[in-house]
């Protein structure tokens, strides 16, 4: 991982990749989106975060992306306190996260190759390596033949696979997925989840925010259930808990 462990102050054990310590996030109006959340994610884990709308899942992802900073508490990623990151250090931090969104967030005017290659360009990968790496990752996600297509020419499942290729091409240690199957049919959803499982088996820590009950119950991974900004349940090999 490019960013090192924290040298001064709080020492985070090597295997604790993500640590939330009493994290509260309050927006200008309304109740706290997160209220005293503490959790630890170890290297190589596969974690589902589930909960209804307004439970704080998206805030949690935004905090991990360092789009937001906690109102109270601390978040450590690989030993680094995110609150202490300076603005100019944020891009470097984000390069250690692969991110997949529900709405894919592909640049519409760019073709598949350009969308994936961009992640390599920002880490200043030489062109000859980009030309080798992009087709390789596109083959892994099964889109090698569609490298010239624009996002709008692809199905939802294909667009999500492009987003995953982009997220994975720099081999990030953490993959954050915010409702990755939210816009997909069941078949495509399962394909994406299988892909995520494979990636996790190769050592990448995968965090998936989802509403998909069937997938959560079937995959038998760690499940963190959130409600109204607090963690309701955190279970190894858990299932989707009905909150009502």
């Amino acid at each position: 991982m490019a960013f090192g462990r924290k040298k001064k102050g709080r020492v985070i054990p090597e295997d604790e990749l993500i640590v939330f310590e009493n994290v509260t996030k309050t927006y200008q109006t309304g109740a706290p989106a997160l209220n005293g959340v503490s959790l630890k994610v170890k290297k190589g884990e596969f974690v589902f975060i589930v909960g209804d709308s307004g439970s704080g899942k998206s805030t949690l992802i935004k905090l991990l992306l360092r789009e937001l900073v906690p109102t109270e508490g601390e978040i450590y990623v690989n030993g680094v306190s995110l609150s202490k990151l300076r603005r100019r250090q944020v891009p470097k931090y984000r390069r250690n996260l692969g991110v997949v969104f529900q709405d894919f967030r592909l640049i519409k005017n760019w073709n598949v190759y350009e969308n994936v290659a961009f992640a390599q360009r920002i880490v200043q990968t030489p062109n000859r390596l980009i030309k080798r790496n992009v087709p390789a990752i596109l083959s892994i996600v099964g889109l090698a033949s569609k490298y010239k297509a624009k996002p709008m020419q692809l199905s939802g499942g294909e667009q999500q696979r492009v987003a995953m290729a982009r997220a994975l091409i720099n081999k990030p240690p953490i993959l954050l997925c915010d409702e990755p199957t939210g816009n997909l049919d069941p078949k495509n959803s399962w394909e994406i989840m299988k892909l995520l499982e494979q990636i996790n088996k190769r050592g990448t820590t995968v965090i998936v925010v989802t509403h998909n009950r069937e997938i959560v119950n079937e995959m038998q991974k760690r499940v963190i259930t959130m409600k109204k900004g607090v963690i309701l349940n955190d279970e190894e090999k858990g299932g989707y808990i009905d909150e009502d």
């Binding site: 984000r94 390069r95 920002i122």
Partner: protein, 300 residues
């Protein structure tokens, strides 16, 4: 920055122009129309100022010498040197008594001049003094009137004041019009560039989520807007260069009577000011418009 990243940025900026063809065309059209309007006004005003200046240059102060000086070439030369040394003087022309008489005969007497055996204008050798700036006529006249060896100073205060007034008015009006046009152009162009970039807020956000630095996100936008700005500035310059001579030919043909009065500036003179200003505005707005607008969307 790697060389490959540098070329990528340039390539990306150029590609973006075509990818966002509507935005590019709208921006180029706005910049081109604003700068065309600005260029046309500038050309008109520059010519008008030139006409006033030409008229000013034709106005001369004439000094006649006292009788003793009229017969002393050395004294006359000394006086001429003193006048030439004045900062407000652009040119001094000596007219001898004989030249004065010849001109008078041609202008007024014609064949009747044969009756004269001697030069009736024997004492009328003079200097015709041309000024750099007509508004300085009063100070020169005051100086000339105090000089020894000068009998009479002829000048037209009314002409000088009128020309000076017109010149001042043209300067103020032109500064006003050009200032307003520039302000409107800058406002319109920046608005177009800003709206165009705002539409791509999502694109900027995606780049930031992936881990792109502000510089990496901004650079292709800056290249794109810089090129758009320069193209937008080059189009009106091209149009003005093509049309200018044709318009002048048309004006001089239609209004032949004006040919002797009006002297228009060549396009090269107009270009000397117009090209750097237009390209500067185009490039500057592209540059700063994109930097400022992209910055707004970088806080992701």
């Amino acid at each position: 920055m790697r060389i490959s990243s540098f070329f990528y940025t340039i390539k990306q900026g150029i590609k973006n122009i075509f990818r966002n063809a509507v935005f590019s065309l709208a921006s180029i059209a706005t910049i081109a129309s604003c700068l065309l309007l600005f260029g046309v006004f500038y050309a008109i005003i520059a010519n008008f100022q030139n006409i006033v200046k030409t008229a000013e240059e034709g106005v001369a102060v004439t000094v006649f010498f006292t009788e003793d000086v009229c017969e002393d070439d050395v004294r006359m030369k000394e006086i001429g040197d003193l006048i030439s040394a004045r900062s407000e003087v652009s040119k001094v022309v000596f007219v001898s008594a004989d030249q004065a008489w010849e001109e008078f005969k041609v202008d007024y007497l014609g064949e009747y001049a044969e009756g004269f055996t001697e030069n009736p204008l024997a004492g009328s050798a003079n200097y015709q003094i041309y000024l750099r700036d007509i508004s300085q006529q009063d100070s020169l006249v005051s100086y000339l009137q105090t000089m020894t060896g000068i009998r009479e100073v002829n000048y037209s205060k009314v002409t000088a004041d009128a020309l000076s007034g017109v010149n001042n008015m043209v300067s103020y009006v032109s500064i006003g019009i050009i200032g307003i046009l520039l302000a409107v152009s800058i406002f319109l162009i920046s608005n177009t560039v800003m709206i165009g970039i705002s539409i791509r807020k999502e694109e900027i956000g995606i780049m930031k989520y992936i881990g792109a630095t502000d510089f990496f996100v901004r650079a292709p936008f800056v290249v794109e807007c810089l090129i758009i700005g320069l193209i937008g500035a080059a189009i009106p310059l091209g149009i003005i260069n093509v049309v200018y001579d044709k318009v002048l030919t048309l004006v001089t043909q239609r209004f032949e009577v004006l040919n002797s009065i009006l002297r228009f500036l060549p396009i090269q003179t107009i270009n000397k000011t117009l090209i750097p200003i237009s390209l500067g505005i185009g490039a500057g707005i592209g540059l700063f418009g994109s930097i400022i607008t992209v910055r707004k969307h970088l806080k992701v």
